[in-house]
């Protein structure tokens, strides 16, 4: 079910393959090419190009739709550095419909989409950026006088597979935050019977988007997905688990306010509201814009943009009360309190002791006295 057959295995035959399947000989095929060349007024040398083109595997056709969105996904896609977008567009796929990039507009653009769907049934990829509003009978998002719902359902019916780009298409994103005035709905809830790949994030990382496309083309199958339809290659690790500031968390060293001494040392942003512990994404591994940085590296807590409903998990600067799944760590406050009280209480668990040791190891390098807590004792614990 996950196999994604190559064009030559399905309806998308090259013209030569198709003619051969219909009993046309190689000799007749070349004759056809010569006639075509003559009709187009080409020199004899031009005929070879026609032969090559008709024999060559066709690039995978793509229809890219925009619903309720801000185009950040398209913009992120344009930032891809491997492969670069020009190579994707000229050599790897045929982006037949894209409101952001295509030269034709209006009915000429719509005809491009119709033609691709007509000529490649079951053999084009559908990519969707944006959510689908169900309110007002579809009037909250219309293209060419048709509702987004209508357009998505029609395009999905003949698609080989569907990629839902970003948080909008995967989970509704900001417009689906309470009270969701337009009934913004993710793609997987309005289509049935098609594999949907949710490439999460607001937007997704450029190289993740390109990576998903390359996966489909190179391995001719849909990548392994998690329970939320996200490719495991990019969404199986928490930002917290892959964060280069993680040792500071484990050691109980936290930024207390933006631009304080601890911020200037790059300590953990957990107390500033970081959602890294509950967010699955590749930011810590791949970083952004070809590995330049990611939000935490640049001093801002993760806001959790690759998770469904993250907008309603705000305020962003409010600390996560607790989060599941930690065997060896305690919550930040417990670490902080334990660090401060360890000598008195003498009851620290082994795990906490480990963290205290880390704190002591890291602290002196950063100008702290061993055992000194960075957590103000006056601050009440809310956990």
């Amino acid at each position: 079910m996950n196999a994604l057959p190559s064009p030559s295995q399905t309806g998308g035959l090259t013209l030569w393959e198709e003619m051969r399947a219909h009993g046309v000989s190689r000799r007749d095929f070349l004759k056809f090419c010569t006639t075509m060349g003559a009709m187009l007024g080409l020199e004899h040398s031009g005929v070879a190009a026609i032969v090559a083109a008709l024999e060559t595997k066709r690039r995978l056709p793509i229809v890219w739709l925009h619903g309720q969105e801000c185009t950040c996904c398209s913009e992120s896609f344009l930032r891809s550095s491997h492969p670069i977008v020009a190579d994707i567009l000229l050599d790897k796929v045929s982006l037949d419909y894209s409101e952001t990039l295509q030269a034709a507009a209006g009915h000429q653009a719509e005809e491009c989409k119709a033609k691709t769907m007509r000529e490649n049934p079951g053999n084009y990829l559908l990519m969707i950026e944006g959510s689908v509003p169900l309110g007002a009978e579809g009037a909250y998002c219309c293209i060419g006088g048709r509702s987004m719902l209508d357009i998505v359902q029609e395009a999905a019916a003949g698609a080989k597979a569907v990629i839902a780009w970003g948080n909008c298409a995967s989970a509704g994103c900001v417009q689906a935050a309470r009270p969701n005035p337009t009934q913004a709905t993710p793609v997987h809830k309005v289509i049935a019977g098609k594999p949907v790949i949710n490439v999460q994030g607001c937007p997704p990382i450029a190289e993740v988007m390109a990576g998903v496309i390359v996966h489909l083309l190179a391995f001719e199958r849909i990548p392994q997905l998690d329970a939320l339809g996200r490719p495991k290659a990019f969404y199986s690790r928490r930002v917290h688990d892959t964060c280069y500031r993680r040792p500071y968390y484990d050691a109980g060293l936290f930024v207390e306010t933006f631009d304080d001494e601890n911020a200037r040392r790059g300590y953990c942003l957990y107390k500033m509201g970081c959602k890294g512990p509950t967010t699955y994404n590749s930011c810590g591994v791949m970083r952004w814009n070809n590995g330049v940085s990611y939000p935490i590296q640049s001093g801002h807590p993760c806001i959790g943009c690759s998770e469904a409903g993250f907008w309603d998990a705000s305020p962003f600067y409010g600390r996560l009360a607790s989060f599941p799944g930690f065997g060896i760590e305690m919550t930040a406050d417990k670490i902080g309190l334990a660090v401060g009280a360890a000598a008195v209480a003498g009851a620290a668990a082994h795990a906490v002791m480990t963290n205290i040791r880390k704190h002591d190891e890291i602290g002196p390098h950063l100008g702290e006295k061993p055992g000194e807590s960075t957590t103000p004792s006056s601050e009440p614990s809310q956990d």
Partner: protein
């Protein structure tokens, strides 16, 4: 006998725009501009923590990413009387400049160029001649005959596959294309180069804001800390990276974008008489050089020009209740006190009221309501906003840098200033200001280095971060200049929560429907008189509309029906907040 031409979707823009135009004797005689998508982000913002608003608002647009975040943090800072440290202002300026450089180049090559550059004609160009022309207009190194020959071979192979992708079914061969094949080939070469270049300049956002699109902002400053002796902060390596990106960016703008603009324009001088539009121009101004409070020292001056009268600048204040007002007479909203009267955004009151045809539809009922955009007016006047407005206001204000840059470009084109009031003028103004911004960015960069050298490293003030220090009610305006024009957010805070939040956005000014007096907004006005050679091939309509650089997701958002307060969200001092 006139023909109704419908162009929907308008492609190579951000968002969902529909144009209906009445064409008679080869010219547009009337036009209607409609935004056909709405999300309701202002309603969603109600009841939330004002310090979070920038992140929601930033998602209004991913193309001019950052501008809504900037307007949002400024609105909160205005309401709470927060002054950000000088380095934060400089870093915001650098992010602003990086956006302009990326966004304007992408607009020119990827959203607008194919209105002027014929891809198919480029296949017929002589690479030797192309190289000669390229080398005559610029020192850009990628200009050898072999470079253009290889590109042409690649393009030819691409076309021969029969799968034209984004270039399929377009207007190639249309008589309105005037460039010689060699110039077309240069245009296509730089289309591809710009695609690769634009992903570099935005790394400035990644360094300061962690990612692009949608880098992080912060009320009270910027989130990145400076520490030149630390690996985990802005240090010499990070700053050197920014410096190199700015220099590379300026080189591309000086050696590729500007020469291409000046090589293209002379072939299209008839477009200096088309697409003039409303003749009033508004700029809030931006790029503070002495703190945001010192409006007189913005790099882009603030002001209004009426009736193309460059001898007089009218002052603009977004706080003025009689200045900016929005109407909904032709928009799918309902005002409690009747749809006729405009409302100042602080009193903004809106409710969805879709009265259009049920989709699928052929035509909108343009006599009534026909767009999800409201209609903003300044003292009752329709205003054009954007690069042309900024350059005109700067020129009229006597700003030396802007005046010199405009004069230099006009001299290169051997044309008077009056040519600016047009489709081509708009496109030229965008190039002129990109050049200025690239230069200013390097000034800001040097100032940032000087500050750090002098021991000034603050990037944030925590003075009013804690909501317990806020007054019970407060209201503010955050204004900026998006690449597409004047942008402001109006905010009302009550009991530490957002009571009301309204945006009046660049494309709303430009793309809105008519007002209650029947006055057309800039798109509709600019289309009047635009030639249409073949109503089936609306290339000329695209030229004029694209000259504004439409951004519809920005323009459509307005909805403040009675949203439920988000009572489960607790705002309080950091450290005393439980996340939910």
């Amino acid at each position: 006998m006139s023909t109704r031409v419908v162009v929907d979707p308008i492609t190579r823009i951000e968002g969902h725009l529909r144009i209906e135009a009445e064409v008679k004797d080869g010219r547009v005689v009337d036009a209607w501009s409609a935004g056909t998508m709405v999300r309701g982000i202002e309603t969603i913002l109600k009841g939330r923590d004002p310090r979070d608003a920038w992140a929601f608002a930033e998602r209004v647009c991913g193309v001019c990413t950052t501008v809504h975040a900037l307007a949002s943090v400024r609105s909160v800072e205005d309401a709470l009387h927060i002054t950000v440290p000088p380095n934060a202002e400089l870093i915001r300026n650098l992010m602003f400049c990086a956006l302009y450089m990326q966004d304007h180049v992408v607009h020119f090559y990827h959203l607008h160029a194919l209105d002027w550059v014929d891809l198919v004609s480029a296949l017929k160009a002589d690479p030797e001649e192309t190289s000669r022309i390229a080398q005559s207009i610029s020192a850009w190194p990628k200009s050898s005959p072999g470079y253009f020959r290889d590109l042409q071979t690649r393009l030819t192979k691409f076309v021969e596959t029969g799968q034209l992708g984004i270039f399929a079914n377009a207007y190639w061969g249309h008589p309105a294309y005037k460039l010689p094949p060699a110039v077309n080939l240069i245009g296509v070469a730089h289309y591809l180069e710009a695609l690769e270049w634009q992903k570099e300049i935005v790394k400035i956002h990644t360094i300061f804001g962690g990612k692009n699109p949608h880098p992080n902002y912060l009320v009270g400053g910027v989130p990145c800390a400076i520490n030149i002796d630390e690996a985990n902060a802005l240090n010499a390596e990070r700053l050197a990276y920014v410096g190199r990106l700015l220099e590379d960016g300026q080189r591309f703008i000086e050696q590729v974008y500007l020469p291409d603009l000046l090589a293209t324009a002379p072939h299209y001088l008839d477009w200096t008489e088309i697409g003039g539009g409303v003749s009033n121009y508004l700029s809030y101004g931006d790029l503070p050089t002495n703190g945001y409070a010192d409006i007189g020292r913005f790099k882009f001056p603030r002001g209004v020009i009426l009736d193309r009268d460059l001898s007089r600048i009218h002052p603009v204040d977004p706080h003025d209740p009689d200045g900016v007002r929005e109407e909904v007479g032709h928009s799918w909203y309902r005002y409690q006190g009747g749809d006729e009267k405009g409302l100042h955004p602080w009193d903004g009151e809106t409710e969805f009221n879709y009265t259009g045809p049920k989709p699928p539809y052929e035509h909108l009922t343009v006599e009534g309501k026909y767009s999800w955009l409201k209609t903003p007016r300044w003292k009752g006047h329709p205003m054009e906003v954007g690069p042309l407005a900024r350059m005109l206001v700067g020129y009229a204000a006597g700003n030396a840098e802007i005046k010199d840059a405009v004069t230099e470009a006009l001299a290169a084109l051997k044309a008077p200033a009056s040519v600016l009031f047009s489709t081509l003028g708009r496109t030229a103004a965008r190039g002129i200001e990109t050049r200025l911004v690239a230069r200013w960015a390097l000034e800001f960069y040097q100032q940032l280095l000087a500050n750090i050298r002098n021991g000034e490293t603050r990037t944030f003030t925590k003075e009013r971060w804690d909501p317990s220090t806020w007054p019970a009610t407060a209201r503010g305006v955050g204004a900026t200049e998006a690449p597409r024009g004047a942008l402001a957010h109006w905010l009302v805070i009550k009991d530490q929560r957002i009571e009301n939040y309204q945006l009046v956005v660049a494309t709303t000014w430009n793309a809105s429907p008519r007002d209650s007096k029947g006055q057309r907004s800039p798109y509709e006005a600019a289309l009047i008189g635009t030639p249409v050679h073949d109503p089936q091939q609306p290339l000329e309509i695209l030229r004029t509309i694209h000259s504004f650089d439409p951004c519809l997701a920005c323009a459509v958002h307005l909805f403040d029906a009675r949203g439920q307060p988000l009572s489960a969200v607790e705002t309080g001092p950091v450290g005393a907040v439980s996340g939910r």
